[in-house]
Amino acid sequence: MDFTFTDDQLAFRDSVGSMLENEVTTASIRERWTGDSGENGDMLNMLNEMGMNSLLVPESCGGLGMDLVDFVLLADACGKAALPESIVEDAVVAGGLLSDLLASGQHTDQVQELLGGVAAGDIRVGCAHIINPYSNFAHRKDWMLLANGNDVHLVPKSDLKFTALKSVDPSRRLQKVDWAPSRKTRVAEGEVGAGLQRATLNRGALAAAAQLLGLAQAMVQQAVDYSATREQFGKAIGTNQAVKHLMADCAVQIEFAKPVVYRAAYTVGVAPQRADWAVSHAKTAAGSAAELSARNATQVHGAMGYTWECDLHIWVKRAWALAKEWGDAGFHKNRIHEWLLQPNALLGPEFTFGKRYIDHSDSAAA
């Protein structure tokens, strides 16, 4: 039993984290709000150079062949920086689905070529799922992985019609994607397709959960800093218990959500067929921590936190959006109780962690 990360994983997190801290200034985020694409080309290049695109791409396709445990801290760092670019979703969700397609032997040549292009930073692939009616930055992708019933389609940009929609979070560029499914674009169908979509939902929710953790920590840090400098009644407002407790409540939720998210990342890797409840737990815990942090950090900032000028709302609005994307709290709690209340649920201590949980073959109890 070991919840720690390796030195390599931590070093990777630190180097990505410090690059983001230096480059993703709030001024640069606000510049993206007024730009046409909403993206920063230099940032996309830097992320690619650091290996973010190729992290989950198999080594056989020129990628780093790492897993979600390796990625979870990087997603956290992206959340902390409120990075507008959709690198986490691209790498984890689209990259994950492409890798799954390769592993299942579907359309191997085409998928292999795309994965190679993704790893090299030449091709951008996005992925939509029925749970999200709108897709962030879809118009910036060369290919989109799309669902139609159980089928999965891989569709080139030229066959897609985009309708841009405005998000409450100005960093997000939502698109409604219209397209016509055809046999030509279909890459998986039936049971295989349904399984891939389920895995996609889990990776998407996990990616959102990890970013929510980062967002939550960044919001609390800003509020803690503000509470030390803002004075009322002749003292820093942070000296008041009422203000301290707002922040302490967030810290408790955030810290308790961390191992839940890490566990989900691990489970998605080793027992993807049983990952639903672990992912739903992660999304619920991280979403709730981030929503509380958004609320309390705004409260600590007082009226200042309610202004457009104060940077806090960059994080707050992202937290609101990600808490809903890839299934909101209601959806994920329903998945948990469906699992918990089934007659043969695997609930004993021997299933909480470890081999019996991973190896257990009773798929009905998954």
Partner: protein, 397 residues
């Protein structure tokens, strides 16, 4: 205890409803349910015209005594008016600060000259007012006001210098009531004055503050040798805190009942959408809808209880619990609205940043727990003033 309205009051209700039905229509149709917190920037010209329309019908300042142009309505009748106004979709009042705060304060503390000078303009729906209390260093700690008022012997008038902030509707107002320090050596609640300041003068600069809603209904107001005539101080120099606090007592009066009707209409909207889009099938949403309904009824009963016996509109001890309760309830309602809307809650209806009614509700209710005394300050007030617990120590910085 008698939980009914009299026959006379029911008749009054009919009169109000009829007048609104016959007048809040035609040119005024588009402003129904518009304006108010989060939507103050909408239909400003039309809502100013509506103020005058209300005044012509005798529906401004209905709680003021008849001798000052009011209707001398009882508390019950004011409640009824606010209920019917909200039910009819009456737009967010632009004259509410003058009518519910300045008017009662001047009637209680103003000179004859001040009453004559200011009350008719408010009553006519012509003069709009804003509130000059908060400053960059005086938020929760309101008494830490730094704006200075110095009496200039040569011109026989007051000169104001300093800055106010979070001033709602300053850019639309003719006048502002300003708390400023008349004794430069004083600190805290002592040495303050309460001034009635004309906003249309070179010494006053107004700068809107864009909010995270994308709109700007708050402002910064700068006073640079802004003038205020000798007769426009309410109470004596040094007596400003008492006047300023009395004014806040009027703030939490009967208008809360109208606010609850607005809340009801928001909740009705949310229930309707939940039924339409299937969110009502979600057990957790159903529970929260029931909680919202329960909370709103609690507020309504409690407000009626607070009004009972308080004929002079004065703030009773029970009133201290109200701000904390409604602000938290309303904030939760905003969150519920977003959860009922699901993914659609993220979409703006229009460029560049146009929020729909429920998005405005959600975003603006994040300010509900801050303005007019944060939840934290409210809890301290309840603990210290209602329960008599020891006071939170103050710093010395």
């Amino acid at each position: 205890m008698k939980l009914t309205f009299s026959a006379e009051d029911e008749q009054f209700r009919q009169e109000v409803a009829n007048w609104l039905a016959n007048n809040l229509c035609g040119d005024f149709e588009p402003i129904r349910f518009r304006g108010g917190p989060g939507d103050e920037h909408s239909f400003v010209a039309e809502r100013k015209a509506w103020e005058k329309k209300l005044a012509e019908g005798g529906w401004t300042a209905i709680g003021w005594p008849k001798e000052y142009g009011g209707r001398g309505c009882s508390i019950e009748q004011q409640v009824i008016f606010n209920e019917e106004y909200a039910r009819a979709g009456g737009p967010g009042r632009m004259g509410h600060i003058g009518e519910t705060l300045v008017g009662p304060t001047l009637i209680a503390y103003g000179t004859g000259e001040q009453k004559e000078k200011y009350l008719p303009g408010i009553r006519a729906g012509k003069d709009l007012w804003c509130q000059g209390y908060s400053e960059p260093s005086a938020g929760s700690d309101l008494a830490n006001v730094k704006t200075k008022a110095q009496f200039d012997e040569a011109s026989k008038q007051w000169l104001l210098n300093g800055q106010k902030v979070w001033t709602s509707l300053a850019h639309e107002s003719q006048f502002c009531f300003v708390v400023a320090r008349t004794d430069p050596a004083s600190t805290g609640q002592k040495g303050l004055g309460f001034f009635l300041v004309d906003m249309d003068q070179p010494g006053v600069t107004i700068r809107p503050i864009p909010q995270l809603t994308g709109t700007a209904e708050f402002n910064e107001v700068f006073f640079d040798d802004a003038v205020c005539s000798a007769g426009d101080i309410v109470g004596a120099p040094g007596d400003g805190w008492r006047v300023a606090m009395a004014l806040l007592g009027f703030e939490r009066g009967v208008s809360t009942l109208g606010q609850q009707m607005l809340f009801q209409s928001e909740l009705d909207d949310i229930v309707k959408i939940a039924k339409e889009n299937g969110a009502a099938n979600d057990p957790s949403i159903r529970q929260r809808l029931a909680d919202a309904h329960i909370g709103l009824r609690i507020m309504r009963y409690n407000s009626m209880r607070m009004m009972s016996g308080g004929e002079d509109g004065s703030l009773q001890k029970e009133a201290m619990i109200y701000k904390l309760y409604w602000a938290s309830w309303h904030r939760n309602l905003g969150k519920l609205a977003m959860d009922v809307l699901g993914p659609e809650s993220e979409l703006l209806t229009d460029a560049p940043y146009e929020l729909n009614r429920l998005q405005s509700l959600f975003l603006f209710t994040r300010a509900d727990t801050i303005y007019g005394g944060t939840n934290q300050i409210q809890r301290n007030l309840i603990a210290e003033r209602a329960l008599g617990m020891p006071r939170e120590p103050r710093g010395t910085v």
